[in-house]
């Protein structure tokens, strides 16, 4: 309860300023920049990089767009962005807009010669599954980025894993190409329901039983095909250590292809955002894999925000052919999808088919959501599940820096239902 009160208080305190708060009358009267008579048409970045900004920074940007240029407000935004990106410097440049009397603001980020960032990108709680947390340190030197992450994840997969993720990335061609290599090591544990399901009958679609640890080596390359469309290709070499030490290692080696589209439209009081992606994991014997499978996932997320109201619609679908290991199988009933349900109750081994949709309505910091979907195995009939919830949030989820979420979700079904508490923060 105390946690809830703290989060609600934080939500109120962290609310973005209204336009009147952002630009004071005194600032308007004393703006000495001759360009203050022009209207800001858009605000963007000069380079091709994808920057991750908090909802409050995005809101600050949105409030400036469509208004007359105000130097002090723009300088505040620049300092806000600099602080969030932990950049050495951020400057702005005004260029003529599309219409006479309008200007475009371009932000130029100077990351500096080298820096180290430490963050906690994920920290959350879900009733029945416990805590999930990740801590991350990133060292940047020129176009090179080295990231080290320690995590404990009870949420996103059937397995409950704790481990490390290390990755190296090099940005080339004005950030249009990114070459990367990732190494992950996890120790895995399982919910009793999963172990019981594995012991009772091994489904033919499950590629491996319980494994005690997992190693992943993953070189990849990303290309900006035509902004905002990016394509990533890589190879994942996964080694699974079975629970019994005498059993041989199993491998799940797959080619990974991802196509992503991310676009943001913003006008005076309205923001629209579309994020869509298709991902293909193809584990083939050409790569020497013990488990051969293909995994297709397709996701779309559309956001419409006008003044204090927002509507978000998400769709997720997936299909697996072949024998995929547990970490690749689809899950619903966690802190982001089909909230309110227990994923081990829905399917303790995950499924190889997935269909899911979600609608969220928000007013100010209040959020109301409705989720519906099903995860099942090929050959079985899908059973649609629904849930609803209410809560407070500063963003749409936990993906944005500084965002928080506190919600109560209910599975919609006949008979006794127990609400699930979801809490999370990203800082």
């Amino acid at each position: 309860m105390k946690l809830a009160l703290v989060l609600v208080a934080a939500a109120i305190l962290l609310q973005p300023a209204t336009r009147a708060d952002t630009v004071t009358d005194a600032e308007r009267a004393t703006d000495l920049n001759v360009n203050s008579r022009y209207t800001i048409e858009s605000i963007g970045f000069m380079d091709q990089s994808q920057y991750r900004l908090s909802p409050s920074a995005m809101e600050e940007m949105r409030l400036l767009i469509g208004a007359k240029l105000n130097s002090e407000a723009l300088n505040r935004l620049v300092q806000h962005v600099r602080s969030e990106l932990r950049a050495h410097d951020v400057t702005f440049k005004l260029v003529r807009g599309g219409e006479p009397g309008s200007v475009k603001v371009l932000l130029e980020v100077d990351p500096g010669p080298g820096r180290i960032d430490v963050s906690i990108p994920q920290f959350g709680y879900y009733t029945g599954q416990g805590w999930t947390a990740a801590a991350e340190a990133t060292a940047t030197l020129g176009a090179n980025t080295l990231t080290f992450r320690a995590l404990k994840d009870n949420d996103s997969s059937i397995e409950q894993m704790a481990g490390i993720q290390t990755s190296y990335a090099r940005h080339l061609a004005d950030d249009r190409i990114r070459l990367g290599f990732e190494f992950d090591a996890y120790a895995d544990q399982y919910d009793p329901a999963t172990l019981a399901a594995l012991a009772s009958a091994k489904p033919s679609s499950l590629g491996a039983g319980a494994y005690s640890s997992r190693l992943n080596f993953e070189p990849s390359a990303s290309f900006v095909l035509a902004k905002p469309l990016t394509f990533t290709i890589g190879v994942s070499f996964e080694q699974l250590q079975p629970g019994f030490s005498a059993a041989p290692l199993e491998s799940a080696n797959a080619v990974i292809n991802t196509l992503r589209y991310h676009q943001l439209w913003s006008s005076d009081a309205t923001t629209q955002q579309l994020d869509a992606g298709y991902s293909l994991h193809a584990a083939t014997t050409l790569l020497g894999t013990d488990l051969a499978y293909t995994r297709h996932t397709f996701d779309v997320d559309y956001l419409y925000k006008h003044a204090q109201q927002l509507l978000e619609v998400s769709v997720l679908a997936g299909v697996i052919y072949g024998r995929a290991p547990l970490f690749e199988r689809f899950v619903l009933g966690d802190s982001t999808d089909l909230r309110g349900w227990d994923k081990y109750e829905l399917d303790p081994l995950g499924g190889n088919r997935l269909a899911y949709g979600s609608v969220t309505y928000g007013y100010h910091i209040l959020r109301v959501f409705y989720d519906a979907g099903s995860v099942w195995d090929q050959g079985n009939a899908p059973e649609a599940r629904q849930s609803a919830g209410i809560g407070v949030a500063s963003g749409l989820g936990l993906l944005d820096r500084g965002a928080f979420l506190l919600a109560v979700a209910f599975p919609l079904r006949q008979g006794h239902t127990e609400p699930v508490l979801i809490a999370g923060m990203n800082f």
Binding site: L32, N35, S71, T91, L94, V103
Partner: protein
């Protein structure tokens, strides 16, 4: 051999002097441009047609659409340079219209005093035309020397200082009481010695 060396050294010396002068002008911002002084009633006015401070990083910031404040200090010394008998301090905020490609200047002490639709050299001249030192207390027969210092305010510095009706003299005195930072653009130039009685109106 000696002749060759001397011939070789003469242009080298010239290049060295030119380079030193360029360093002096660009790096340290000390200009040898002439500072002309004239009298107008109870005020001393200045002109420096060869001085250009809308250059370099400041000019780039202006072309990027930012307003750049410039701090001016005009001092008049009697006898030795340290014996300052008159001082004027002003902050001018310059900005560049990205549509009209013209400069605007506002004198911060008096926000109603401004110039617009100016070329770069006209904007520079406008600033010089709007800084005066009082001549009422100057010794008429003593040899005087005027000195003008200009500093471009740094990027993080707000255009308007806390006393929002303009700018406090205390704040500007503080600005000029400390040496300029290595990255800060600054200029300085001095007049030839003169006597108040000899000045033309």
């Amino acid at each position: 051999m000696i002749v060759w060396c001397q011939r070789a050294r003469q242009p080298a010396l010239r290049y060295f002097i030119v380079a030193l002068t360029a360093f002096d002008l660009l790096g340290l911002g000390i200009s040898s441009a002439e500072l002309a002084v004239r009298s107008s009633g109870d005020e001393l006015q200045i002109a420096a047609p060869r001085l250009h401070f809308l250059t370099g990083k400041s000019l780039q910031r202006l072309h990027d659409g930012a307003a750049v404040p410039f701090d001016f200090q005009l001092t008049v010394a009697a006898g030795s340079r340290n014996n300052v008998v008159a001082r004027a301090l002003e902050r001018f905020v310059v900005s560049y219209d990205v549509w009209e490609e013209k400069f605007s200047v506002v004198r911060l002490r008096d926000l109603h005093k401004s110039g617009s639709h100016l070329s770069a050299s006209a904007a520079e001249a406008w600033c010089l035309d709007n800084i005066f030192a009082s001549s009422s207390n100057l010794p008429p027969g003593q040899q005087l020397r005027a000195r003008l210092e200009i500093r471009a305010a740094e990027q993080k510095e707000p255009a308007i200082m806390p006393q929002d009706t303009g700018i406090s003299l205390t704040a500007l005195i503080e600005v000029f009481s400390r040496p300029s930072r290595p990255q800060q653009e600054h200029w300085a130039l001095e007049s030839a010695p003169f006597r108040l009685a000899d000045l033309k109106p």
